[in-house]
């Protein structure tokens, strides 16, 4: 398979990259972290191409799409790159929110639209959007992040039927906290890192959902239960998130 992964250096992107390289697939890995990309390339240069791009910059995304359009078609595209901004809403700079909304929402929409509409996907292929469990709960203390992930979930469901007519599957995943440095930086004080899902485990569940051509994935039992609770008691769950997240955040972090 030909595969594209954004945010490939760390977390879920990295775990997917390593699993898929082990299975012998060809990957184009995209990230902002140049050293991380070079390290990946050193490991498996035979199957891997790397492109360094800052996906918070609209023009860079447009240029990336032009580059990708010249290559082979993709069987799997994982639009995984994303960032967070936590703390009191008004205390993070506006520019941090602009960047967040570009990389988490605008970039995956622009890339998916251009790649599917521009005939860059193989028939039978899959595009994976990464939303968040916050879609079910709300996320006081990271309201712009919550916005970005709700937007991408609704975009995915809006284009799903049109993509199905071209035999392209749209999978949206709604992961809770993942065991990464990024999650640790944004976690509330006293949060138990051991309860976060390991990126390898999540990658395994995502690839299963891809092969089963699922539409939505709430990975793991806790995420599934949270989703049900969020549908039954949305206001209660957002209040609970205020207690366990917002009230324990001590400073703006972006």
């Amino acid at each position: 398979m030909n595969i594209l992964i954004t945010g490939a250096v760390a977390g879920l992107g990295r775990a997917l990259c390593e699993k898929l390289l082990d299975e012998g697939h060809n990957i184009i890995a995209i990230d902002i972290n140049k050293d991380g990309l070079e390290e990946l390339k050193k490991q498996r240069g035979d199957l891997l191409d790397v492109i360094q791009v800052d996906l918070t910059i609209s023009d860079a995304v447009s240029r990336l799409i032009e580059t990708l359009a010249k290559g082979t078609r993709f069987d799997l595209v994982v639009l995984n790159a994303g960032i967070n901004a936590t703390g009191n809403f008004e205390e993070n700079p506006g520019e941090a929110y602009r960047r967040l909304l570009t990389i988490n929402t605008e970039t995956p929409i622009i890339m998916a639209s251009a790649m599917i509409g521009g005939n860059m996907m193989e028939t039978g292929g899959t595009v994976v959007f990464v939303s968040s469990l916050s879609h079910a709960t709300g996320y006081p203390g990271a309201s712009v992040y919550a916005a970005s992930k709700d937007a991408i979930a609704t975009y995915a469901s809006s284009i799903r039927r049109a993509c199905a007519r071209m035999n392209i599957n749209i999978l949206t995943i709604f992961p809770g906290p993942i065991k990464t440095d990024h999650a640790a930086r944004h976690a509330p004080k006293g949060a138990d890192a051991e309860r976060r899902m390991a990126p390898n485990r999540l990658a395994f569940l995502v690839l299963n959902a891809v092969s089963q051509r699922k539409h939505d994935l709430y990975p793991g039992v806790i995420a599934k239960l949270t989703n049900v609770a969020g549908r039954l008691l949305p206001a209660f769950l957002t209040r609970l998130m205020r207690r366990i997240v917002f009230e324990k955040l001590d400073k703006p972090t972006y």
Partner: protein, 247 residues
């Protein structure tokens, strides 16, 4: 809260449609109203209420818009804002897989990034009001719409933002989101959508504006002006949902 001469209200996107009707309703109640629009002040002179203060700001440039609004509010001597209704929005109709990238970016900037950055700069004005209210105008399409994919996404983002911020600002500033269903304003034509015979099912803009005012007064969120509102309107149970003098 009662509207009086000391009540300061901001309404974005108020040179036509629901925003303009909202401006008229609040001005009639005696509030000070600042409105924004993307067109040149000369071009809207004939349209906008003469008692309203107009700020020209294009939300395709979100941070510039946010700064223009707070600058103008400071210049006219507002130290507080009691109610901000972030209503401005745009959209375009198309095959979801043939969306023009520039149109996607404009939609996201106008409908999502701009309201978020405006909310951020408005905090200090809302905090100084007695019970500040921040209202987002969403859309019933926030749950997904094939012909308006990026528009639906932007409104879903606004919904999620309002949901989390409402909890974050609990007991401080009341945050609301109101989702009108299809309304007979110029929006659909501007978006390149010919609703045809469906138009007869669209909401009367005046009814929507009055329902929004009533919802803001109640303070509940989220509110959808959808199927139930349509039944109520058809039965004429609530011809005039606004009680005069309240916001």
């Amino acid at each position: 809260m009662k509207v009086d001469q000391a009540t300061n209200i901001l309404i974005t996107g108020a040179t036509d449609g629901i925003g303009l009707l909202l401006a008229h309703l609040y001005l009639a109640q005696g509030a000070n109203v600042v409105i924004t629009g993307r067109r040149d002040a000369k071009a809207v002179e004939q349209v906008i209420p003469k008692d309203a203060i107009y700020i020209q700001a294009n939300q395709e440039h979100p941070q510039i818009t946010a700064d223009l609004i707070t600058k103008a509010m400071t210049e006219i001597g507002w130290d507080h804002c009691d109610l901000a209704i972030l209503n401005a929005g745009n959209g375009h109709v198309c095959n979801p897989l043939q969306e023009n990238p520039e149109a996607i970016r404009d939609t996201l900037n106008v409908n999502l990034v701009a309201p978020i950055l405006i909310a951020r700069t408005l905090v200090r004005f809302l905090d100084k009001a007695h019970h500040g209210k921040l209202v987002f105008i969403g859309s019933t399409s926030h749950k997904g719409a094939a012909k308006f994919a990026s528009y639906a996404a932007s409104k879903a983002g606004l919904h999620g933002f309002a949901r989390s911020l409402r909890e974050e600002w609990h007991h401080r500033i009341t945050v609301l989101i109101i989702h009108p269903g299809p309304t007979a304003t110029g929006m659909h034509a501007k978006a390149g959508f010919d609703a045809g015979a469906m138009k007869r099912l669209f909401f009367d803009p005046d009814y929507v504006a009055r329902t929004i005012v009533a919802s803001i007064h109640k303070g509940a969120s989220p509110v959808s002006i959808g199927v139930f509102a349509r039944i109520k309107q058809a039965l004429s149970l609530r011809k005039n949902p606004v009680s005069a003098g309240d916001i």
